[in-house]
Symmetry: C2
Subunit: 127 residues, 2 copies
């Protein structure tokens, strides 16, 4: 698939992938994709990332059920980042049970948690 070849998969073979909620407009997550992850994302219309810590494909929501259904995919001008416009299942993208992973805001020189926990992580990850 030619669109995969427009990404310069050099070095670690990863591209930054930003997911933005189609409804709220919030930036939910920043994660990483390799070629296989991008290919599967496009084919399945679900966000699939490359987990750098686990060194394997990470089908977002595979444990939590918080799948990101991809409505739109965009590539930036120098092809080193991808933007996914998604419908976030459950309205929760973060493993802490919050809508967005960006729940800490810089206030007076400190990162302060400012967003509510929508669901207790213990209720999301049941093993």
């Amino acid at each position: 698939m030619s669109f995969l070849d427009e990404v310069p998969w050099s070095g670690e073979g990863l591209i930054a992938a930003v997911a933005q909620d189609a409804r709220s407009g919030r930036v939910l997550t920043v994660a990483w994709m390799n070629r296989d992850a991008l290919k599967e994302t496009v084919e399945s219309r679900r966000a699939v990332y490359w987990s750098r810590s686990r060194r394997r494909l990470w089908r977002k929501g595979e444990e939590s059920g918080h799948v990101q259904r991809v409505r739109e995919l965009r590539l930036d001008c120098d092809a080193d980042a991808i933007l996914l416009i998604v419908e976030q299942e459950g309205g929760i993208a973060c493993h802490t049970g919050r809508e967005s992973c960006f729940f800490r805001k810089l206030e007076n020189g400190e990162w302060v948690s400012v967003d509510p926990v929508i669901k207790d992580p213990a209720q999301i990850y049941k093993r």
Copy 2:
């Protein structure tokens, strides 16, 4: 400044930085920050990145005038990405003269430019 120490500056010493327009809600740019860039961003309230290609601090807008004034800074749950909510000077973030660097959309297996050029780059970069 303690907030700088909460970022794990390991490896290349960089963190991904996503800029989102405060008014339109659009994701404008994905760039990189090192410790100095984040420090200066917070102090000056203007987005300062680390240019990986030029290997120096890049004060966004230093040539184009398209400064990003930072209204809010957020850190994600695993502290490997920063979100900047910005007021984009000129309404143009991309060196191609478009609002956002994410102007290419995947349509039928091809990246297609779908956003208008607001200003001719030749009029932005006059040297």
